[in-house]
Amino acid sequence: MNTVDNAAFRAEGLTKVYGVGESKVYALRGVDLQVPRGEMVVLLGPSGSGKSTLLNILGGLDSPTEGKVFFGTRELTAFDDRHLTLFRRESVGFVFQFYNLIPSLTARENVALVTEIARDPMAPEEALALVGLEPRMDHFPAQLSGGEQQRVAIARAIAKKPQVLFCDEPTGALDSQTGIVVLQAIARVNHELNTTTMVITHNAGIAAMADRVLQMADGEIQDIRINAEPCDPAALSW
């Protein structure tokens, strides 16, 4: 815990307990974590190990039972709902397994939904160009393939130029080829905007593109691996 200045966010002793008494489930058991600014982090681990729980807490979607989360110097865990909303609005981008696009808005409008309320966003067209979807801008989600929908979701997440981008199994519903296109978009955003990025995946192969690989098991971070030479997603395969 020495490079505090450089950390995008930091977690101390995060515990998350679901239920009470007999049926208590420990989703997280005292997680400490520090992620340096601009890094690409991949989170691996078996199902039920607490990956999503950790990500949701770091992103301000959920609160821990115990422990603290700092975003820069601000303590996220002390925020009320209004500040959490503001935090998500200004500083965080999310991408989920099931895209979560608004079906009644076109690709461009889905992005505009966020840029309309952000402080210093890029143009929706620019964000869509970053993920290579400029030509499909005016299509509705129902007219896009799964991979395209996921790229729209990434464009929507990064259009506000967030400091952090959280992706929970972004390729989970995609075939490997499409998955690589999506990962390329994520990597590009990470490089070009210097966005600290955290990606959850079940796919150990994807770890090769990360600067840092966290291995979770049973609510704890078991292993942290630094990858000196992250490779281009194009070189991945699974």
């Binding site: 959920d62 979560n100 079906p103 889905n110 129902a142």
Partner: protein, 792 residues
Amino acid sequence: MLIELCKPLDRKLLRDLWAIKGQALAIALVIGCGIGMYIMSRGMLESLQETRNAYYERYRFADLWAPVKRAPDALLEQIATLPGVRRAETRIRAGVILDVEGASAPITGEIQSLPEKPTPHINDIVLRRGRYFDPQHEEEVLALQSFVEAHGLGPGDHLYAILNGTKKKLTITGVVLSPEYVYAISPGEIVPDKKRFGVLWMNREALANAFDLDGAFNEAALLLSPGASEDAVIERLDTLLKRFGATGAYGRKQQISDQFLTNEINQLNTMGRVLPPVFLLVAAFLLNVVINRLIDTEREQIGLLKAFGYSGVSVALHYLKMIGVVTLLGIAIGMVLGLWLGHGLAAMYQDYFKFPFLLFSAPADVYLIAIGASLAVAGTGTVSAVLRATRLEPAVAMVPPPPPDYSRSAAGLERLARWLDQPTRMILRHLYRWPKRAGLTVLGIGMSMGLLIGSSFSLDAMLYMVDISFNVIDRQDVTVNFVEPRNLRAVQDLLHAPGVMAAEPFRAVPVVLRNGQFKRREAIVGLSDNAELSRVVDTALRPVPLPPDGLLLSDKLAELLHVEAGDLLRVEIRTGRRPEVDIPVRGIVKTYMGTAAYMNLDSLNSLLKEDIAITGGYLLVDSQHTDALYRALKNTPVVSGVSLQEQAQNAFYDTLQESLGTFVFFNTLFAGLIAVGVVYNNARISLSERGRELASLRVLGLTRGEVSYILLGELALLTLLALPLGAFLGYALARGLVYSFNTELFRIPLIISPATYGYAVLVVVLAAIGSGLLVRRRIDRLDLISVLKTRE
């Protein structure tokens, strides 16, 4: 505990129901309102009819009344033996001015004769308190209960009456009810005023002495043989009694009390026919929408159940059971509500209609129909949705439906969308994508507003009717009726009475008007040329000058007689020398109450081949001197009746507030419930369908307010769209009601004040805001994480 005992599918049923408990309750309430209304109105209708029939039967309410000037008792024999007559009796009946200690204004009343001893007779009385009069004591009378109690009197108390020109002090020995005065109203008025209309019953001999009718009578009351033709008997009676100054026999249809009672029963009938179906329709619509959406969201589960081997029938049964529970809850609410309202209404009617007993009891078929109708309505509201569910192939059902396609949008909408922010675009596209659902919601809200307008407009209309009747048509303060026709000079006497500022004469002449087969027993009112107080107005409410000859008929009378301006009408005058002449109808005029026929006073008198004579006068009175005038009138022997406009108007407003006010209050409650039911259900279902979308937006950083806007903005827009529709439906309903309330007694004009529209809008908007707030609370508690875990 309970849940553990059930089969898995039933457990799912209970949990599902619990999950939509708010909506289920809203639907049950709407069903309940429909059933409650139905049980109340049908039950009250049946109760009133039952009670009326039993009362009439038991106390031998007459079928016919035949007033004459004076006929010998011996004539009874001939009357009783007329074909079609089952039983006949004679009596003495007269108008009187009453005076009670402490009452300043003169009271109009009637006095009737009774046999010496209490014997079963036609138009029998019900002795409620005290005793029958003693024939030895001429001053002893029985008096109508409502009148006696309104003045705080009872057996042993005294009152005064001017009997045939002599003021007499009378003693009340008994307090009674009579089937002839179930609705105790003074002739020519529209609402009963307990204090200002009294009826007395006196020993026949004593009354005959007072009116110089020894061995004679002035009215016959008859019961008809079963199957006898009323019209035929009337013709025979009129022929027989012609020599004795008969003004024309009449049946129950023209008996004032029965007329009002029948009118009320008909109105109840109309309400019972119109309102409950509206409620049930709305309930059916709500159920349909809820179930359809539920099945949409449960598509995969249904597929799964079928894949596991549950048959289509058991899946259908599952949803039908769910509807069954909601419907049964609605039925239970409706029964309780209906009984409660019914008993309340019966208590109100008991105060309004003087029955010796009035119990609210709805016959079994009312309940059966209510239950059957709601089950049928719930069933049809559900069946198509359930069928759709069972028809799904398991494989198809289990594949999640593709994201809804919004790409086919209207060009106009898209052009508009360019100027709007994304959330507003979402609202518009959502509405455009499901126009039917949006349309039904708008219709549902519109119906509730229509119901509000349709039920509260009658207040406006009644007030307007009274305003026109009292301030445009009949502008006099006091109407005085004489015992006998008097010389025109009597107007001068009236003018000299204290406080009288203006006086105008009138003459009312009993006639029978005939146009071929159509015939009416009426009074022609002769007015002076330059009448300023009681006026005749046309349909545009402009004063109409009286033509030098010929008749002016009220619109309703012209309709009943099927005549138009220019037609000739056969007029059989039933007084004096009883001439029969053909008189042209010169015009049709507007009246909201009664069925009037007007003529120029001079030409009316020349028709009667008499000098100018009058039967009463209209007075304009200085309000400073009313008491002095009242005192004078109470002691004027030639006066048989006095009507006071202001008191009549006040009585009307009081009655209106009491009866219609209560009625409007309940309808407001019901319509408000419908509005809440529709709006809340719509919002809740939208929320459950789009919860995922809304949670995603929250994740993206939209605030609670911004997210709520998408859902509540849609509701607001639908509510806004529903307002003009509601106004239109309200107008249409009011039109229908006006049409069905058009009776001989009064016609309600189709007047809907802006305030009524405003009130309906207010109730609907408040209901929408209330439901919006309820839903908003749920939006605030959206679970952001759970929606991210699952696909649609």
